[in-house]
Amino acid sequence: MNNVPPYLIVCALIFLGPAAQAKLEIVATTPDFGSIAAEIGGSRASVTTLAKPTEDPHFVDAKPSFIVKLNRADALVEGGSELEIGWLPALLDQSRNSRLALGAAGRISCSQGISLVEIPATLDRSRGDIHAAGNPHYMTDPLNAKIVAEHIANALCQLDPKSCDVYRADLKKFTLGLESKTKEWEKLLAPFKGQRLVAYHNTWPYFARQFGLNIDLFLEPKPGIPPTPVHLAEVVSRMKAEHVRVILVEPYQNRRTAEAVAADTGAMVVDVAQFPGGVKGTDKGYIELMDYLVNSIAKALSEGRK
């Protein structure tokens, strides 16, 4: 609301006066969902995001404003499948908003309709921070983003049937843009099919699957467990044996660990993020983020080949 120039509000009031309606207040847990909700909601919705793009989505610091925002929201867009299990339930408890209750129309859980990978056969916490429903970092695959956008549009139509046509038009625009970009991205990464990359945390299985890469070597010995010397030595020797040249690190992960491994192996550290705004130049939205990811990874892989 704050960055709308006052004269626009005045104009809007004059021209739309009688027709003007209250905006849908949408809260998104992480910026990827926030940016897509903003694309679909357009001018009919005001979207706020709880987690910062540089924050670990599994652990977000609760602040009083989160409770206020959740208390006033008409809709909550969440990743679901245990992505926010460490912090969201207590906040929702405190915010006492029945519109966001489980099963209510305002509770938009984006993992519905997504087929998740890495669903564990048995639940055993000794294997690290694993998720019963599968790996929740599904937004790094643009095809999943398409499903999520559609899911959000459907939910907004249900909440605000009068504006449904607008939401559908926004959805179409977003989807078309995403589809043409996806073709471009596939072309960019096609020369590197089957190549292996190292990541700090197991964030990228969906990205890897979509673009035919192998991102199955991690600096963490188990998801969520900080790197240990023995494990890092193993990673280094595997990287040398297989000529792995790229290490992916997200903003909230320990870059120095990755730099040390890179120095040992001659690999390159590439700063990546799951969320728009997590790395410089990606704060415009989901498509810009994916554009950055694909381009920087393609660039690193082609430099590593020389």
Binding site: K63, P64, D129, P226
Partner: protein, 283 residues
């Protein structure tokens, strides 16, 4: 304002009800000059929580039991090390218990996926998201402990404030000391889960120091201490709401600010007092 109250209601109730006993314990601790004993005991309690996390004990009471068990061990250590041996001051041992417990917590949590998050939680707690049942349970417990202290106030006060006299009168200092630390262990264990290590230290020490600066009798100290704790809580909670800051840390800083105000006021007051004395001498 109504909005602030609806969101901060239970944190506020927690910060008004629970520090009462902490302020009282703080007076004992400042007097005994074992300032860091609470930090050490809180850290030992946190270490117990870490063990429970690592053993994947899901139930609340199991976590509490681990935390309490560890605290009792800490209580025993501090009881046995209260000596007048000047080669090894008790403060040194307290410091050692603190750093070893903190380091052990890091070792344990490095084995757990939620390690970093839990480490931070043991420091600043989650006062913003405190559950009403947690607050009420802790308050009931504190009420019982308060009554024990009230009934046996003569012995408890004597072992802290006049240990020489206690020994001369044949009071068993060790036994009372152990009881003192065990009850303190309950207080710390309950509060560490709500407010974290930093907050518990602030509620214990800051009001007691303010009280010592301003007044002399125990009753007056309690009143000043409670006023300081209450003011600090309200200012901290309000700042946290208004400026959207992490709540626990905001309260700790507000208490620090309260001490600054009191220190300046007492300095100024003493100077003014001396000034008037001098002018009356001249007259």
């Amino acid at each position: 304002m109504a909005d602030a109250l609806s969101i901060m209601l239970w944190p506020l109730i927690a910060c008004l009800l629970l520090p009462g006993i902490l302020v009282y314990y703080g007076l004992h601790i400042v007097r005994r000059e074992i300032i860091f004993v609470d930090l050490a005991l809180a850290q030992v309690a946190a270490l117990g929580i870490c063990v429970a996390i690592l053993l994947r004990h899901g139930h609340d009471w199991q976590t509490y039991a681990w935390s309490l068990g560890f605290t009792f061990v800490g209580a025993a250590i501090f009881t046995l090390t209260r000596t007048r041996d000047h080669r090894v001051p008790q403060e040194a041992l307290i410091g050692i218990v603190y750093v070893v417990a903190a380091a052990a917590a890091i070792l344990l949590l490095s084995q757990s996926a939620e390690g970093n998050e839990e480490l931070k939680r043991t420091l600043v707690g989650e006062i913003l998201l405190v559950q009403p049942s947690e607050v009420l349970r802790a308050f009931a417990l504190y009420a019982v402990i308060g009554i024990v202290h009230l009934v046996f106030r003569r012995s408890f006060l004597m072992i802290s404030f006049e240990p020489e006299r206690a020994i001369a009168e044949g009071v068993s200092v060790r036994a009372w000391d152990f009881l003192f630390y065990v009850l303190f262990g309950f207080v710390v264990t309950s509060f560490v889960r709500i407010g974290g290590v930093l907050m518990i230290f602030s509620y214990l020490i800051v009001p007691a120091v303010c009280a010592n600066l301003l007044v002399d009798s125990l009753k007056a100290k309690l009143v000043v201490g409670w006023l300081t704790a209450t003011t600090g809580s309200i200012v901290g909670l309000y700042a946290s709401y208004k400026l959207d800051l992490p709540t626990g840390a905001a309260i700790v800083c507000a208490l620090g600010g309260a001490l600054l105000v009191v220190a300046v006021a007492s300095r100024w007051g003493r100077k003014a007092g001396r000034g008037s004395l001098r002018s009356s001498e001249r007259a």
